[in-house]
């Protein structure tokens, strides 16, 4: 932890020095950004926009994990399905995020549904590819054992398949959260009237870098809290069976 904290302190030091040297409102100091965040927090504005963005992140994340996992498992297990869907997957994964967002807004309308669909469509191919690998890596020997001992479908899914997929699910959700919140900001910038992305757009028009950084750091902080209080403890719990290195 100590080297991490030191490195973080170094980052803020370099930033402060740069701000002092530039002496320009376009390069605000960390203190100025912190003061802005405190001000926005006291009016409740900050929390409102953070909550709206977080809700969109959670919705898009849930949808893309469920749809992506289902498709990935199907493609990993059935070769015909894989052959049929693979070109679609390549098409979708190479489609620029911006194009998907614009098309969703045009075809579905400037609505919440369009925003979340656009984000999910951007993330689903990643989940599919990761989980397809997971499905291909399933150990046939354990599957045979489960068959010989007549495990029920539910038991097989819960105790044989899911634990094997866990690292792939973890990888998909890790990269997923980071990617999704970045795309959510773009979606908000283009077609929503609230959320962190909308605020950043607003302050961009005012050229207020302090505010832009304030909102960005506030959301990064939210994601860090999720990482340390949710993702990492969960992972430790799920992998406790691994023999600890001696």
């Amino acid at each position: 932890m100590a080297p991490g904290a030191l490195s973080l302190a170094g980052f803020f030091l370099v930033w402060s020095l740069a701000a002092w040297w530039a002496n320009d409102p376009d390069v605000p100091s960390p203190l100025a950004v912190a003061a802005f965040m405190a001000r926005e927090a006291s009016t409740g504005e900050l929390f409102f926009h953070l909550a709206v963005t977080l809700a969109r992140v959670i919705a898009a994340f849930a949808i893309s994990m469920v749809v992506g996992t289902a498709l990935g498992l199907l493609m990993g297990q059935k070769r015909t399905v894989d052959r049929v869907l693979d070109p679609w997957l390549i098409l979708l994964i190479n489609m620029p995020a911006l194009v998907l967002i614009v098309l969703c807004y045009i075809w579905i309308g400037l609505s919440e549904a369009a925003a979340i669909t656009a984000v999910a469509l951007n993330k689903i191919p990643n989940v599919v590819i990761t989980l397809r690998e997971g499905a291909r890596a399933l150990d046939p020997k354990l599957a045979e054992m489960a068959r010989v001992y007549r495990f029920s479908r539910l038991t097989t899914a819960r105790h044989v398949v899911l634990p094997q997929l866990q690292p792939y699910l973890a990888a998909a959700s890790r990269s997923g959260l980071a990617l999704i919140w970045k795309i959510v900001l773009v979606v908000e910038l283009l077609g929503r009237s609230n959320g962190v992305g909308f605020q950043i757009h607003l302050y961009f028009q005012l050229f207020d870098v302090t505010a832009i950084l304030g909102y960005a750091f506030a959301f990064v902080a939210v994601m860090l809290v999720i990482e340390y209080t949710l993702v990492q403890p969960l992972e430790t719990r799920l992998t406790r069976w691994r023999a600890k290195p001696a």
């Binding site: 020997k141 054992m145 044989v160 634990p163 069976w241 023999a243």
Partner: protein
Amino acid sequence: MRIDAKDFDRVDGGRIAVLRDLAFSLEPGSFTCLIGPSGCGKTTTLRIMLGLDRDFQGEVRPPSHDARIAAVFQEPRLLPWCTVEQNVRLALPRDATPDLNTLFETLGLGSMRSSYPDELSLGLARRVALARAFAIAPDILLLDEPFVSLDEATAKRMRALLLQLWRGRGVTVLMVTHNVREAVALADRLLLIDGQPAHLTGDVPLPLPQDARTPEYMAVLLDELGTAHPDMLQI
């Protein structure tokens, strides 16, 4: 007459006949060893009997349609994220209430019930696989070289445990091995398979009870087997 496996004609990739005209049946409560050189199709035979390989011609007739079959594979095949006890419990049929305490004690696993498989040696993990097989009170137990790559002392203990469990429970055992000494010590019937495609080359009953078999008796037996089946001797 329990299992009747006829006319296996399993064809692999480039249509290589692995097994041909291999038919036998197992007496209830008997201990049979299926012996043959490595790669001759012993494991394939077991996989067919377990229903894991359906690409063959012929039929496998279990004693009844709800007969319980247990298997011990070459590798323990335990779920690494489940404890020893969970691994055994997951395999139990829903209504089963076996005496796991006695089983774990017999196999010397009493203190390891909440260990994870990665923390166990291969010998111990194999004992867990054995415990799982006996816990479901099977009618038929199929073992695929369950004691390979164990040191001789451990293998010997495991064989004694297997005999002990088999006697106590009246289960029909078919064990695949390429170790003739092991087979002579354990089985009351030897089935020899060999050739390409493999077929039955010998069916040797061993009527003397296992614990009455002295080292001298087994040496003579091995000698006789060697004369009758010269290709077995090299093993």
